[in-house]
Structure formats: structure tokens, C-alpha cells
């Protein structure tokens, strides 16, 4: 375990000295803060209700928080994960450090797992910036604009059920691809980014109603959609008993403050995390210290 600790801690030290990390962390924080401040209300059409009617989803309500954190912020912040993780092992290869490291006594498993853990920790640190920005923006919106106070418990639950699994899956897949095809690292980063966007934006085409994909999609888009659909359905029923249109906004706000259940996503996402870790474990077993590098003189 000392070997594992050595690899992880030295990789984190290397990252700490790398200016790009210190640019990335505040950039993610400021980006999330700005996004939340400027975009925290979404007009949602009530398709089967009165024609043309929309309800406003507020980012600080129970229903709005998953919308804000998952659909808006996680979708964008996750695009950075492949750029961190693909280089976990590929960096040594590209910077021609591979031979120096591989000629040392460090066990292969410790090298692979250590680098993976460092990549994962960095990506999780980025997600902490996201959380901090949302908390701060939520407080500011409460203080200056009278929005409902966001639920810290729900935010942490979203972090645990949606964000951590997303970070783990994307980190693992990117890391493993970079480990086996280090020469293609830059292309693989883009592939990870595109793959993520495909999962996010193409989900509507694949995932109608409630299917297995609603729960197994690592983007957690299902959490947003199922809860919004439920809100709209409740609204459509409840609005029939409220003839005064001026009270509809208050009704929509009241309904969005109903507790959100993330329970159906816990088991599938835990399995996704386990599968990701299994993928890394397989990489640690299959990773070859031999690489056809430098001229064969």
C-alpha cells in the first residue's frame, strides 16, 4: 500500500505544481457561479395543459436543483474529466518518462491504481468547486432576489448519486483508453467529450418513458426528466382546481418544493461505479510495462 500511496501522492504533487490545475479549479468555480447566477430559471411548457402555458422551474427548488446541477452544470463540467484522466498514464509516454518510471521497482498495479486515484481525486476536486459555486450562488439568489433557499442535503445527495458516479465512469473510461493507447491521447480526450455529449443530448431519442436507460445513463439525465415529468403531471392535475391564473405560479412553486427521490438511481449508479473500478482493475492486470518507444538503435 506504501507504493500506491507514493504514486498517488507524487502525482498529486505534480498536478499541484502544474499551472493548468490552478487555472482549471477557479475557472470551474467561476463558470458554475456565473452560470447559476445568470441562468437559474427555466420555462417548462405544460404540453398537455392549457395551450401555450409554461411553468417556471427555479434552480434552487427541490425539482429545479437537479435540473441546475445535472442538466446544466454537470453536463459542462464533465467535459473536463477526460482531459484530466486520459493523461493519467499517457502523460509519461508522451513526455518520454515512461522508460524512467518503468525501470524502477514500483509494482505495475500500484503505478496504474495510483495514477488513477490521482486523476479521480482531481476530477472530484473539480466537482467540489461545482458544489461550492452552487451553494454560494444559491445563497446570493436567496439574499438578493428572494429565491427559495436551496437544500444542502439534496445538493449533497445529488453529488453522491449523480456527480460522483459520472466523474468515476468518465475518469475510468478515459484513463483506461489513455493507458492502452497513449499515442492517441489527444484524440481520445475529444472522443470522451463527444461520447459524453452524445449521452446527454441524444438521450431523448433513445430514452422515451421510463426505461432501463433512464436509471443506467451515467449522465443522470433520467433524474431530471423523471422528476420534471412528475412535476408537470402533478401540475396538470392540480391546476384544474385553481381557476385563477394569477395563482398558477405559486402552485408551480409549491409543487417544485416537494421532496425529490433519488433512490431508484442509487443501485444502478453504484453498479456503474463498481464496473468502472473493475475496468481499472483489469487495466492494472493487463497494463504492459513494455512499450515500443524510442529508436531501436
Amino acid at each position: 500500500m506504501k507504493s500506491l500511496f507514493n504514486v498517488t501522492s507524487w502525482e498529486l504533487k505534480r498536478a499541484r505544481l502544474d499551472r493548468s490545475l490552478w487555472m482549471m479549479l477557479p475557472a470551474v468555480f467561476v463558470f458554475c457561479l456565473a452560470m447559476t447566477w445568470f441562468k437559474h430559471v427555466w420555462a417548462r411548457p405544460v404540453v398537455d395543459g392549457r395551450v401555450g402555458e409554461t411553468i417556471n422551474i427555479l434552480g434552487t427548488t427541490q425539482i429545479g436543483l437537479p435540473y441546475l446541477v445535472i442538466e446544466l452544470l454537470l453536463t459542462l463540467v464533465a467535459l473536463v474529466f477526460p482531459f484530466v484522466a486520459t493523461d493519467g498514464l499517457a502523460r509519461d509516454y508522451r513526455q518520454r518518462l515512461h522508460e524512467l518510471t518503468m525501470a524502477t521497482a514500483i509494482p505495475t498495479w500500484a503505478y496504474v491504481w495510483g495514477r488513477y486515484l490521482a486523476s479521480l481525486l482531481i476530477n472530484l476536486l473539480l466537482t467540489v468547486c461545482l458544489l461550492a459555486a452552487v451553494l454560494l450562488a444559491g445563497g446570493l439568489l436567496r439574499s438578493f432576489a428572494g429565491y427559495p433557499m436551496l437544500s444542502t442535503v439534496l445538493l449533497l445527495a445529488i453529488w453522491g448519486v449523480a456527480i460522483i458516479p459520472a466523474a468515476t465512469v468518465l475518469t475510468s473510461v478515459s484513463f483506461v483508453l489513455g493507458a492502452f493507447w497513449p499515442r492517441l491521447a489527444n484524440g481520445l480526450k475529444l472522443a470522451g467529450l463527444v461520447g459524453w455529449l452524445v449521452l446527454v443530448f441524444m438521450v431523448d431519442a433513445w430514452d422515451r418513458g421510463t426505461t432501463w436507460f433512464t436509471y443506467w445513463n451515467p449522465t443522470s439525465y433520467g433524474i431530471v426528466r423523471v422528476n420534471l415529468d412528475s412535476l408537470v403531471a402533478q401540475y396538470q392535475t392540480a391546476v384544474l382546481g385553481v381557476p385563477d391564473p394569477s395563482q398558477h405560479a405559486a402552485l408551480a412553486l409549491k409543487l417544485q418544493q416537494a421532496p425529490v427521490s433519488l433512490t431508484p438511481w442509487i443501485a444502478p449508479h453504484a453498479v456503474l461505479v463498481l464496473l468502472s473500478l473493475t475496468l481499472v482493475a483489469a487495466t492494472a492486470l493487463l497494463f504492459s510495462r513494455f512499450r515500443p518507444v524510442v529508436a531501436q538503435s
Binding site: 505534480r14 513526455q95 524512467l100 518503468m102 521497482a105 524510442v294
Partner: protein, 299 residues
């Protein structure tokens, strides 16, 4: 400890980079020389457990190095080309590699300072590697190879990028390290091996041409090295007909050093051969010379 290499071969596609390379060595410095593509780096990378052989075996202390870890514990390796983490200081980089070599923390701290001093980088210890010159970077490479006080030290073209004074310093340092270890030095620079190697292996096209001492190799070139000072027309003729290993222009002509089995010019006189002369003759760089290990009887 003893390093025993038995009929080692390595094939890349259809090309044999190394063919039936056998070697047995104990304490001392072994020079590995040969032209580009001779198989030096391939041989060193196989010994350093960085490349699996196609056939053959490498034994360290009687044990196969296929598993690798046992050998890596006592291995110091400086590859021909290597990179660094530009944001690390010299001291941090060495501490990092000491951790990868699994050197206990307290010992690692001491060894880092010792090797920094050994390669004259103690003043640059807190300088970022990204600001290092090529020579300084090479010295940090040498330093990392020595961190674990290796029993087997493999250095591939270690003096590339070093200025003459640094080269001499490094050569002397390397010679001083041969007391309790095997040092394998691969280089293009014959002067480097001549100065420090007790044993010399010459490779060409993946095959061993010679396994000899520098003195014995020089001996084979006796009577085949000539010097002559002549006019411009004869200079051109000699350059066309013979292998000229040195040429100094003089008013109206030139002084030449020629490698030839026969007297190349009526005014030519024999000269004392150097290791470089012997090496060039062995590689068959000279028309009509003994161009193979078989004919020189060395391999």
C-alpha cells in the same frame, strides 16, 4: 552478482534488431559500441526489462529477469532519450523517482543530496527542470540512475548533449562507480569507452562483431593506420580510394590519416592506432580491410 545473457534475439516485424547476442559479465565497465541501428539500445532495453526478447534469456544472479522486479530493485537505467516533469525542481524530480524506486524515505533524502552533488547540480537543486539546459537535463538523468546505488547500471548514450568538460567529468565519475557493480555503457563516442571501459562489445546489424578489451582491439589495427602530407591532387585521389579518418588542410595540400591494409601512398608512414581506428577497421569502413569480427578473430 553476475549478468548472463544467452542467445538473445529481438525481432521487430521481419527485421532482427538483435540476433543471438550472448554475454556474461561481472563487476566492471562494459562498453557497447556500434553504428546507428546496431542493436545497442534494443539490447539495453531488454536487459533493463523494458522490452521482451523474441528468444533467448537474461539471468541476473542466476535468476531470470522475466518477472523484472528483482532486477529493477538493483537497476539504474539512463535511457537514450527521456523527458522530465518541467514543473518539478531537480530535487523534487529525484525524490519522486526515489519513491518510484521504493527507496525508504530517510535514505532517499540522503541519496538525493548525494547524487545532486555527484553530478554538480546541488546549486540548481531548487530550479525547475523546465529551465534546465540539455546538459543539465542529461546530468539529472545520470543522477536518477544512481539514486538506488545500483548493482547494475545501464547508461545509453549518456554523454550526448554534454560539453567536453562535462563529458570528462562524467567519464571519470562512471569509472569511479565500477567498484562494486556492473556498468554497461552504450555510446557512439569511442573516446568515452576508450577512457573507461575494461571490456568492449562491438555490435553491427544486431550481431556481435567483437568482444574484446580496448587494448586488444587496438592491437588488431597495428600496421593499418597511416599518415601522409601531400598535395591537393593526391589528397583527392586518396579520399576517393581509401578511408580517410582525419584530414587537416595545409597550404597546397593536406595531412591525412588513412586506414588501409596496404601503404596507400609512397610517402605514407605508419602511425600508432587508436581505438577509433580499430573500431572503423572492424566495421569494415575501409576498402580491402578485415571487415568482420570473424576475420579479426575477436568475436
Amino acid at each position: 552478482m553476475k549478468l548472463a545473457i544467452d542467445r538473445l534475439s529481438k525481432r521487430f516485424g521481419t527485421h532482427w534488431a538483435l540476433k543471438d547476442f550472448s554475454l556474461s559479465c561481472e563487476m566492471g565497465l562494459l562498453g557497447l559500441v556500434g553504428p546507428n541501428g546496431a542493436g545497442k539500445t534494443t539490447a539495453m532495453r531488454i536487459i533493463a526489462t523494458l522490452l521482451p526478447p523474441t528468444t533467448g534469456s537474461v539471468l541476473w544472479g542466476g535468476q531470470s529477469v522475466l518477472d523484472g522486479r528483482a532486477l529493477r530493485r538493483v537497476l539504474g537505467y539512463l535511457p537514450q532519450e527521456f523527458g522530465v516533469y518541467p514543473d518539478f525542481t531537480a530535487r523534487q524530480f529525484l525524490a519522486y523517482l526515489a519513491a518510484m524506486k521504493e527507496i525508504p524515505d530517510k535514505l532517499a533524502r540522503r541519496r538525493v543530496e548525494e547524487v545532486l552533488e555527484l553530478v554538480n547540480l546541488e546549486r540548481a537543486a531548487t530550479q525547475r527542470l523546465g529551465t534546465f539546459s540539455g546538459g543539465m537535463k542529461q546530468r539529472i538523468g545520470i543522477a536518477q540512475a544512481l539514486l538506488n546505488d545500483p548493482e547494475l547500471l545501464i547508461v545509453d548514450e549518456p554523454t550526448a548533449g554534454l560539453d567536453p568538460a562535462e563529458r570528462v567529468h562524467f567519464r571519470t565519475m562512471l569509472a569511479g562507480l565500477t567498484m562494486n557493480r556492473i556498468v554497461i555503457l552504450s555510446t557512439h563516442i569511442i573516446g568515452d569507452v576508450e577512457a573507461v571501459a575494461g571490456r568492449l562489445i562491438v555490435l553491427r546489424d544486431g550481431q556481435m562483431l567483437a568482444d574484446s578489451t580496448p587494448e586488444a582491439l587496438i592491437e588488431t589495427a597495428a600496421g593499418q593506420v597511416w599518415t601522409v602530407t601531400t598535395d591537393a591532387a593526391s589528397t583527392a585521389e586518396l579520399q576517393r580510394r581509401c578511408t580517410v579518418s582525419a584530414l587537416v588542410a595545409r597550404p597546397g595540400g593536406a595531412s591525412l590519416r588513412i586506414l588501409s591494409a596496404n601503404r596507400p601512398h609512397p610517402n605514407a608512414t605508419t602511425d600508432t592506432p587508436t581505438l577509433e581506428d580499430a573500431y572503423l577497421l572492424l566495421l569494415g569502413a575501409m576498402p580491402g580491410a578485415a571487415g568482420s569480427g570473424e576475420s579479426s578473430g575477436l568475436a
